[in-house]
């Protein structure tokens, strides 16, 4: 990895240049809630001033630009006794600007699922390869626990990564296209003072909030499978799936066939689903393997913190706590994990 610095005015110039030819998606404030707290989303922007790089967290993750909620997988058109299938996953290159480390780590986890196994998803791969990612360092957000799951730092999975040094950014360059893009503006080689300022800036990003202790969590989950903690939190669950929708890593989905009303075409539609929805584990014949909401909630946590860890040696969760924030019932990982730990030592 190469490191350079870029003045903030030069960076602005760079973004303006990129906007001339490419779609730029960046954090943008869309309003405030009743408590006056700013609401941000990753949205396409057309001017630099629309971007708010100092945002705390976006309401929705950037997942949607890689795994859309609804996606047309293939279209068939019928012509008498013949038919033609059309599959399209081509995407115009685009730029995703201002991702925090947790959201880039989330993409790295999705990469493991979507790109590595025997059947990589061409839809995902196309979006991933055609998206130029510029990350930015930020102090942990309120309620977040990225440090507890090791997702507060990121070393790959992006093209450029910025750390704010006041009048300039310390830039980590992680791809040749990242390097090439920077050649369009003035950048500087790093000095000893830059390195010192970078390390100090990183140190200043230490957690200011209490984060859960998650060491040995897969084992704890194994031991606490029958714990009353699941009933306690499960009783609150509205089975609405909001948690999985805002989650940067939940990737479960369903596929259905849609047929046009004139029978001339059909398409295969993929829709992201949630393991908390009542019929997630319903099978033909009417049996539901997870008919109880506490069971569904439990398995969501087991997949995130145990099942995924067994396969990929790391949790699926990146500690952004978007699920905890979106949940009207207040179900959130730090409190559940704390409850489980207390249960374990009781």
């Amino acid at each position: 990895m190469l490191h350079k610095t870029i003045n903030k005015s030069e960076f602005r110039k760079l973004v303006d240049l990129l906007m001339e030819n490419e779609e730029v998606i960046a954090p943008k404030q869309i309003g405030s809630d009743i408590k006056g707290k700013a609401i941000h989303q990753y949205l396409p922007v057309s001017t630099f001033d629309e971007i708010d790089l100092d945002y705390e967290i976006t309401q929705y993750s950037a997942k949607t630009y890689f795994l859309p909620y609804c996606e047309n997988l293939s279209t068939c058109t019928f012509d008498d006794d013949d038919w033609t299938q059309n599959i399209s996953y081509r995407l115009q290159p685009r730029i995703l600007l201002g991702l925090h480390a947790c959201d880039i780590n989330a993409l790295l986890k999705l990469d493991k699922v979507m790109t590595r196994d025997s059947f990589p998803s061409p839809y995902y791969v196309s979006r991933r390869k055609n998206t130029f990612i510029v990350g930015i360092d930020h102090e942990p957000c309120e309620g977040g626990f990225c440090q507890a799951v090791g997702a507060d730092v990121v070393t790959h999975g992006f093209d450029l990564f910025l750390t704010d040094l006041g009048d300039r950014y310390f830039v980590a360059i992680n791809s040749d296209r990242g390097f090439n893009v920077l050649s369009r503006v003035r950048i500087k080689n790093i000095t000893q003072a830059d390195t010192k300022a970078y390390l100090e800036a990183r140190q200043a990003l230490a957690p200011v909030f209490e984060t859960p202790y998650m060491h040995n969590l897969p084992n704890l989950l194994d031991i606490e499978f029958e714990s009353p903690v699941w009933e306690k939190w499960g009783a609150k669950c509205l089975s609405c799936g909001s948690c999985a929708m805002v989650c940067p890593t939940c990737y479960c989905y369903g596929v259905g066939e849609r047929i046009s009303m004139d029978c001339s075409s059909s398409y295969k539609e993929k829709q992201l689903y949630s393991c908390n929805l009542l019929d997630f584990a319903s099978v033909s014949g009417g049996h539901n393997f997870r008919a109880k909401k506490e069971t569904r909630l439990k398995y969501r946590y087991y997949h995130q913190h145990r099942g995924f860890s067994e396969t990929y040696e790391e949790p699926l969760c990146v500690g952004c706590n978007r699920c905890g924030r979106v949940c009207l019932a207040g179900i959130n990982p730090p409190e559940i994990i704390k409850d489980l730990q207390l249960e374990g030592i009781r």
């Binding site: 809630d33 609401i39 909620y69 509205l238 089975s239 009303m261 929805l277 009207l328």
Partner: protein, 250 residues
């Protein structure tokens, strides 16, 4: 027009309106881009809003509206005898709809309020299934034509269709909406059946529950949340009673 190489049978369809605004019927004639295909897939024999022709020979009867008069009961029972499949179309037919609010008042008083001195014969409002057996319900105020299309495809071509069991929140999130509760509005989204695509909360008006309850709704937690956000029991009760789908849950 063939489906899987077979010419599908075109069922004869009849649409009837009872106590309602006739908006759900109108939805059947909407969605112009696929209307030709829709009309080609079925044979409409009775549908007052699009044709003055009428026939008593039909396979599927769509019933719009609630039942609020004795002559409506007779008419509905007659339709039930003639129809192979009877579909309740929209919230009024499924739950009684907004008309059901009348049941909370003295009938004569309600009558006077609406008709003044020219009082009409009236009964407490009932849903279609409270009078005759219903084979299928299509929820919504109004119904979504897209959902009607899928149900017609299910009835005509045997294409699998199940109504969503999840609450409105799920689709609301898939449309990147900000939670109505966070914007200072009481919302029935967490307990109301999805499938509508959450047009109201996405458009800035929280959910009023027109599609009735989702499957296995968590009322206890929902009431706790609504209270916690500062909504009183009366306000929650009023909201629940608006479309009639939540009668008796509190």
């Amino acid at each position: 027009m063939k489906y899987l190489g077979i010419d599908p049978i075109k069922p004869k369809i009849a649409v009837f309106d009872f106590t309602s605004c006739e908006g759900c019927e109108l939805q059947l004639a909407n969605k112009e881009d696929t209307l030709a295909g829709f009309l080609n897939a079925v044979e409409i024999v009775t549908f007052r809003e699009i044709s003055s022709a009428a026939s008593d020979d039909y396979d599927i009867a769509f019933i719009e509206g609630a039942i609020s008069r004795s002559d409506e009961i007779t008419r509905l029972m007659d339709i039930r005898k003639k129809a192979k499949v009877l579909v309740a179309l929209g919230s009024c037919a499924c739950f009684g709809g907004v008309n059901r609010m009348k049941n909370a008042y003295d009938l004569n008083q309600a009558n006077r309020e609406v008709y003044g001195k020219i009082a009409k014969e009236t009964l407490p409002v009932r849903s279609v299934k409270e009078i005759v057996p219903v084979d299928l319900e299509i929820h919504g105020c109004p119904v979504s034509k897209a959902e009607v299309e899928r149900i017609v495809q299910h009835l005509v071509w045997d294409i699998p269709y199940t109504q969503p069991v999840y609450p409105v929140c799920f689709e609301c999130k898939q449309r990147y909406a900000t939670c109505s509760f966070d914007l200072g509005q009481l919302c029935l989204g967490p307990i109301t059946r999805g499938g509508c695509g959450a047009p109201c909360p996405v458009g800035g008006l929280s959910c009023w529950g027109c599609r009735g309850p989702s499957e296995d709704p968590n009322y206890e937690e929902f009431f706790r949340i609504a209270n916690e956000y500062g909504y009183g029991d009366d306000e929650i009760e009023e909201r629940l009673n608006f479309f009639g789908g939540f009668e008796g849950v509190r």
